[in-house]
C-alpha cells in the first residue's frame, strides 16, 4: 500500500469549480491516510502545473499520483507522460473524471456534485494505493512479411517492404501474377495498359533479393501471433519443368483436346488445359490445369518440359506480419437481372472490356456487329433490396473509359449510359466531359425506377423513365447491353477465415478505424491493402498498399514488439481447464497447456488485448486482469459507496 500519493484537483477554468467545491474536495482527500499532498490547480493540463507536478513527484518521492479533472479520453496520456517524466511508472498514475461525471452532469446540484466528486477521487486514490509498476511486454519479432495476393497492391507492398529491409514471401493463389489489373488494357489517366503496369512491378519485385514469390500457393495453416506467425503454405505444381522451346508451346496448346471457359476473359472465350492467359504473362511458364486435363499426353509429345510427376508441396514459413491484398471479384448478376443470361446480348463490364480487347476493326458479339451499346450502371452496387449498399467507386470511370475506347476504336459506335448519377470524381471528371462531348448520351433514373431490358422480336430494347427529360419514357435499340457490375468481396474468403480477420457490413475486410487506422485490423500484425478492404481504383489501391506495407514494417522493424502489459493472467493453481475462457475470448489468446501434469489455460501475451471477456465466465475465478485486479476494483467500489 502506498503512503506518498499526490492528488491534484483541477478547476478547469470554471468548468469544474463553478459547480464542485474543489477546495472541499481537496480538504476531504487530504484526510486520506495515503495522501501525502493534495493541491488544487486552475488548469491541471497547463505547462506550469505539469512542471510543478514533475517537481513534486521527483523531490517528494511520491509513489502514486491522481489528477481529478476531465475525461481520461482527453488527458490520461498527458498525465501519464508527466508521471514518466518525473520518474514514476505510468501505471502508478490514476485519472479521476470529475468534470463529465460530476460538474457537468450535476450542474443543478452543487452540493451533490461536490459529494460525488469526493467519492470519485477517493476511488481513484483507493486504486492507486494498490497499483503496481508495470513494464510493457516485449516480444521478439521476425523481420519478414507474408504478402497475400500478387496483384497490383500485393506487388507494390512487397517491393516497398523489401526495399525497407524485410524478407517478403509473396503468396499468389493463381499461377500468374497481376490479378485483375493484368486483365485490363489501356488505363485512365496514364494510358498505360494493365499489362505494362504489372510488368514494371513484376520486374522490380523479381529483381529484389528479399522477395520470394510463390504462385499456385495458398496459406492453409496459421499459428502464433504478431511478430512470430507461423504459416503453412500449400504450393500446387504447374506440371511444367521449364517453358517449352521456341514455338512448341503454341503447338502444345493447339494439340490439347480439352476446351474450358477462360476465366481470365470472364468466360467469353475458351482455353485449353495447358495454357497461359496471354503471351508474355508472368511468370513466363505455362500451366497444366489438372482439374480439366485428361492426361491424353498429346502435349508431352510436342513439349518435352511437361512433367506430370510434379506433386503438391507444403512449406512452413515464419513471419512477423501478414499483409492481405487479396483483391475483389466482379459482381456476378443474378439470372435474368437486366436480362443477364436470358437475353443473348447482355454482358458484364469486365466481359465487354475483354471483348473490346479481342475485336480489332469491328465490334462483333456472337456473330453480330455492334453499333448501339447500352450501359446499365450500378448493377450489384448501391442496391435497394440487395446487401451491397455501397458504391463500387471505379465503375463509372471504367465504363466511360471503355465507352470512349470503343468509340475511338470502331466506326459508328453510339453509347447510351443508363445511370443513377455519374460519379467520375476528382481528376476522372475529364473523362465524363470527353465522352459527353463525343456524343455519348446519358439517361438517368432513380433507384426505384431502374431501366428495363427486354426482347422485342429479335431486338433488344432498353427503356427508362429518364429524369433528365421530365420523366419521359425513352427507349434505345441496343445491339449490346453492358451491365456495369461493381466490386464484391472474393467469394473464397478462406484466408480471411483462417486469420480471423473481421469483415465489415459490406463483407470486405474491416479496418480498425475507417479514418484514423485505415490499414490495420483488430488482429495484431495483419494489415489489409487494396480492394480486399473495399472498392478502390488502382491509385487508391496503391495508396493503401504503401500504407499497409509501412504499417506492417513498423510493427516488426525494431526486431521486438512492445505490447501493453494490461492483459489477462491465469492463476494456474486455481485453474481447472474447462474451456469457457477460450470460448469467450474473441482473439483466441488462450490455449490449453500442461503445467506440471495439470491441464490449465495459458494466455498468449502477444495476442491478448486485455478486454476482460474471459474473467466473468471463469467458474473458479482464476483469471485476473493486470491493472484492473479484483482487489483494485473492489477497493474503488468500497470508496465510491462509503459514507464519510
Amino acid at each position: 500500500m502506498k503512503k506518498k500519493i499526490g492528488v491534484y484537483v483541477c478547476h478547469c477554468g470554471g468548468n469544474i469549480s463553478d459547480y464542485v467545491d474543489v477546495e472541499k474536495v481537496r480538504e476531504e482527500i487530504e484526510k486520506d491516510e495515503g495522501v501525502f499532498l493534495a493541491k488544487t490547480t486552475m488548469f491541471a493540463c497547463a505547462d506550469s502545473n505539469q512542471k510543478d507536478m514533475v517537481t513534486d513527484i521527483a523531490e517528494k518521492q511520491l509513489d502514486g499520483a491522481v489528477v481529478a479533472s476531465c475525461s481520461p479520453k482527453l488527458h490520461l496520456l498527458t498525465f501519464s507522460a508527466v508521471a514518466e517524466r518525473a520518474g514514476l511508472n505510468k501505471y502508478n498514475y490514476i485519472h479521476a473524471n470529475i468534470r463529465e461525471q460530476a460538474s457537468w452532469a450535476h450542474s443543478d446540484d452543487k452540493v451533490g456534485a461536490t459529494e460525488k466528486a469526493i467519492q470519485i477521487v477517493k476511488a481513484a486514490v483507493a486504486k492507486v494505493k494498490r497499483s503496481n509498476a508495470l513494464e510493457p511486454i516485449r516480444v521478439e519479432a521476425t523481420n519478414a512479411v507474408a504478402v497475400v495476393g500478387a496483384g497490383v497492391a500485393g506487388l507494390r507492398s512487397a517491393i516497398e517492404l523489401a526495399e525497407s529491409g524485410s524478407q517478403v514471401y509473396l503468396i499468389e493463389r493463381e499461377f500468374f501474377v497481376g490479378g485483375r489489373v493484368a486483365q485490363w488494357d489501356d488505363l485512365f489517366v496514364s494510358n498505360e495498359t494493365g499489362k505494362e503496369l504489372i510488368t514494371r512491378l513484376y520486374d522490380k519485385a523479381m529483381n529484389h533479393k528479399n522477395i520470394t514469390l510463390f504462385t499456385g500457393a495458398e496459406i492453409v495453416e496459421n499459428s502464433g501471433s504478431v511478430g512470430n506467425i507461423s504459416l503453412k503454405v500449400k504450393v500446387s505444381p504447374r506440371h511444367m519443368k521449364l517453358n517449352c522451346d521456341e514455338g512448341n508451346l503454341e503447338k502444345a496448346i493447339e494439340v490439347c483436346p480439352v476446351e474450358v471457359p477462360d476465366k481470365f476473359n470472364f468466360n467469353i472465350t475458351t482455353r485449353k488445359a495447358i495454357y497461359h492467359n496471354f503471351p508474355g504473362e508472368y511468370p513466363q511458364l505455362p500451366v497444366i490445369d489438372m482439374e480439366h486435363c485428361t492426361r491424353c499426353g498429346e502435349c508431352e509429345k510436342v513439349c518435352k518440359n511437361v512433367d506430370f510427376s510434379q506433386q503438391e508441396e507444403f512449406l512452413n514459413i515464419k513471419v512477423g506480419s501478414v499483409l492481405l491484398a487479396t483483391g475483389y471479384d466482379p459482381y456476378e448478376p443474378k439470372n435474368d437481372e437486366f436480362g443477364y443470361k436470358t437475353i443473348d446480348n447482355v454482358v458484364t463490364l469486365p466481359q465487354f472490356k475483354r471483348l473490346v480487347h479481342y475485336c480489332d476493326d469491328k465490334l462483333v458479339y456472337k456473330g453480330k456487329e455492334v453499333k448501339n451499346i447500352a450501359y446499365i450502371y450500378c448493377v450489384g452496387s448501391r442496391q435497394v433490396d440487395g446487401e451491397n449498399k455501397y458504391c463500387s467507386r471505379y465503375c463509372c470511370t471504367a465504363t466511360i473509359h471503355a465507352a470512349i475506347t470503343a468509340k475511338k476504336k470502331y466506326k459508328e459506335i453510339y453509347n447510351f449510359h443508363f445511370n443513377r448519377g455519374i460519379r467520375t470524381y476528382g481528376k476522372q471528371e475529364v473523362l465524363y466531359d470527353e465522352s459527353s462531348r463525343m456524343g455519348d448520351i446519358y439517361l438517368q433514373s432513380f433507384e426505384d425506377h431502374p431501366p428495363v431490358v427486354s426482347k422485342v422480336g429479335d431486338k433488344t430494347m432498353v427503356t427508362i423513365k429518364d429524369i433528365l427529360t421530365a420523366d419521359k419514357t425513352l427507349e434505345v435499340e441496343a445491339d449490346l447491353v453492358v451491365l456495369v457490375t461493381g466490386m464484391v468481396p472474393r467469394q473464397d474468403n478462406s484466408i480471411g477465415s483462417l486469420l480471423k480477420v473481421p469483415k465489415g457490413r459490406d463483407n470486405f475486410f474491416n479496418e480498425i478505424h475507417m479514418k484514423l487506422r485505415p490499414v490495420e485490423t483488430v488482429i495484431d500484425g495483419v494489415t489489409i491493402a487494396g480492394a480486399s478492404q473495399g472498392p478502390k481504383n488502382i491509385m487508391e489501391s496503391m495508396n493503401s498498399s504503401l500504407a499497409a506495407a509501412t504499417k506492417s514494417f513498423s510493427l516488426i522493424a525494431a526486431g521486438e514488439l512492445a505490447l501493453s502489459p494490461t492483459i489477462a493472467k491465469i492463476d494456474a493453481d486455481n485453474c481447472e481447464w474447462c474451456g469457457k475462457c477460450d470460448d469467450a475470448c474473441p482473439f483466441s489468446a488462450l490455449t490449453k497447456t500442461d503445467v506440471n501434469g495439470k491441464q490449465v489455460a495459458v494466455v498468449n501475451e502477444a495476442v491478448c488485448k486485455g478486454c476482460g471477456m474471459c474473467m466473468p465466465v471463469c467458474p473458479s475465478n482464476a483469471i485476473e486482469l493486470i491493472g484492473y485486479t479484483d482487489d483494485q476494483i473492489e477497493s474503488m467500489i468500497d470508496a465510491l459507496v462509503s459514507t464519510h
Partner: protein, 351 residues
C-alpha cells in the same frame, strides 16, 4: 415512348447548332431565361430533345419560336454549349420542316446551294433584261408587275401551305383539342404579335433591340406597300415620294446597324452568324439602298442613261422575293407570330 436517335445532333449541326452534346443538364439556361415559364420551359428541354434526337417532340414544339434570343442562356452556360444558338438552329430546322418544297432545308444546310440559287436568279434577271433590250420603261413596268405577282404567288403557293403544315404539326398531330371559337377569339394575338413583336420586351437585355427591330418591320412593310400599291417609282404625289425616301432610309440605316453589330459580335445574339442571317440583313440593306438610289436617279432624271442601277435593284428584289422570303429567314416574321397564336390556342384547349 420515344426512340432515341443519336444521329440527330449531326443533322442539327448542319443548321448551325454548336456543341449541344456538351450539355450536362444543369438547367442554368432555363433558370436565367426571362421568357421561360412553367408552361413553356426552355431552352434546356429543347437541348435535351436535340441531344436525344426526339424529332416528333421537336416538330410539335413551339418553344423555339417563343425564344427571342437575348443570349443570357449562352452567356451563362458553364459548358459553352450555346443553348441560344441551338434555339436559333431549331428555328431554321423547323422552318425546313414546315416547308413542303424542301428547298428551305437545302438552302439552310448548304452555302453553295444558296450561292448557286442567287447567281441563277441574277443571270435570269439579266437575261430577261437583255430580252427587253434593256428598255427602262419595260423593265420598270415588268419590275412592278413582278412585285405584285411575287407577293401573291409566294404567299399562296409556299407560305400558306407551310403555315398549314405548321398548324398540322403543333395542333392537329399532337391532338390538341381546340374549339373553333378559340381560333377567332385568339386572332388578335396573332395581329398584335405580328406587328409589335412585343414579346421581345420580356427579354432582360437592352430594349433598343426591340425598338430597332420594330421600326425596321414597320419601315419594311410600309415600303412594300408604298412601292407596290402606291407605285413609288412612278408616283407624282410628293407625299408618297417623301414617304418612300424615309422608309428606304430607315431600312438601310437599321440594317446597317445590324450588320455592324454582326461584324463586331459584341452582343450574344450577334456572336454567331449563319449565312442565312447574313443574307437576310445584307439583302434587306441592299433593297433599301438600291430602291433609294433608283428613285434618286429618277428624280435626277439620270436613270434612263444608268439603267444598270435599276438592274441591280431588280436583281436584289427578285433574289429577296424568291429565295429569302419563301425559304429563308424572312419566314420568321410569320412563324413567330403564328407560334404566339397557336400557343394561345393550346392554352385555351388546356383550360
Amino acid at each position: 415512348m420515344a426512340r432515341i436517335n443519336p444521329k440527330f445532333t449531326k443533322e442539327l449541326q448542319s443548321y448551325g447548332a454548336f456543341d449541344t452534346n456538351a450539355c450536362y443538364n444543369c438547367g442554368n439556361c432555363t433558370a436565367v431565361c426571362s421568357l421561360s415559364d412553367e408552361d413553356n420551359s426552355f431552352p434546356r428541354k429543347m437541348v435535351r430533345y436535340s441531344v436525344l434526337g426526339l424529332e416528333s417532340e421537336i416538330e410539335s414544339s413551339l418553344e423555339p419560336w417563343l425564344c427571342y434570343y437575348c443570349g443570357d442562356c449562352s452567356a451563362t452556360c458553364p459548358r459553352e454549349a450555346e443553348p441560344g444558338e441551338l434555339m436559333m438552329s431549331l428555328r431554321r430546322y423547323l422552318t425546313s420542316k414546315y416547308d413542303w418544297t424542301g428547298l428551305s432545308g437545302m438552302l439552310y444546310k448548304s452555302l453553295t446551294t444558296s450561292i448557286i440559287a442567287f447567281v441563277l436568279l441574277a443571270i435570269g434577271v439579266i437575261w430577261f433584261a437583255a430580252e427587253q433590250n434593256f428598255m427602262p420603261e419595260h423593265l420598270l413596268h415588268y419590275g412592278h408587275y413582278f412585285e405584285m405577282l411575287a407577293i401573291g404567288g409566294v404567299f399562296l403557293v409556299i407560305l400558306l401551305p407551310n403555315l398549314f403544315r405548321m398548324w398540322n404539326m403543333v395542333i392537329r398531330k399532337p391532338k390538341v383539342k381546340v374549339p373553333i371559337s378559340a381560333y377567332f377569339k385568339s386572332f388578335s394575338e396573332l395581329i398584335v404579335h405580328m406587328f409589335t413583336q412585343k414579346r421581345t420586351l420580356g427579354c432582360d437585355d437592352s430594349q433598343t433591340r426591340w425598338f430597332e427591330h420594330l421600326i425596321l418591320v414597320i419601315g419594311y412593310l410600309s415600303l412594300l406597300f408604298t412601292t407596290v400599291f402606291l407605285d413609288w417609282f412612278a408616283t407624282d404625289s410628293s407625299f408618297v415620294l417623301i414617304l418612300g425616301y424615309v422608309e428606304s432610309v430607315i431600312i438601310f440605316s437599321v440594317t446597317f446597324i445590324f450588320m455592324i453589330g454582326r461584324v463586331n459580335k459584341k452582343t450574344q445574339q450577334s456572336k454567331n452568324s449563319h449565312p442565312s442571317d447574313w443574307f437576310f440583313v445584307i439583302w434587306l440593306f441592299l433593297m433599301g439602298l438600291s430602291a433609294f438610289v433608283v428613285r434618286l436617279f429618277i428624280d435626277l432624271d439620270i436613270l434612263e442613261t444608268n439603267i444598270w442601277m435599276y438592274l441591280i435593284h431588280l436583281t436584289v428584289l427578285v433574289q429577296w422575293a424568291l429565295i429569302i422570303v419563301p425559304f429563308g429567314k424572312w419566314t420568321h416574321f410569320l412563324y413567330r407570330s403564328f407560334a404566339m397564336y397557336f400557343e394561345k390556342l393550346k392554352s385555351l384547349s388546356a383550360s
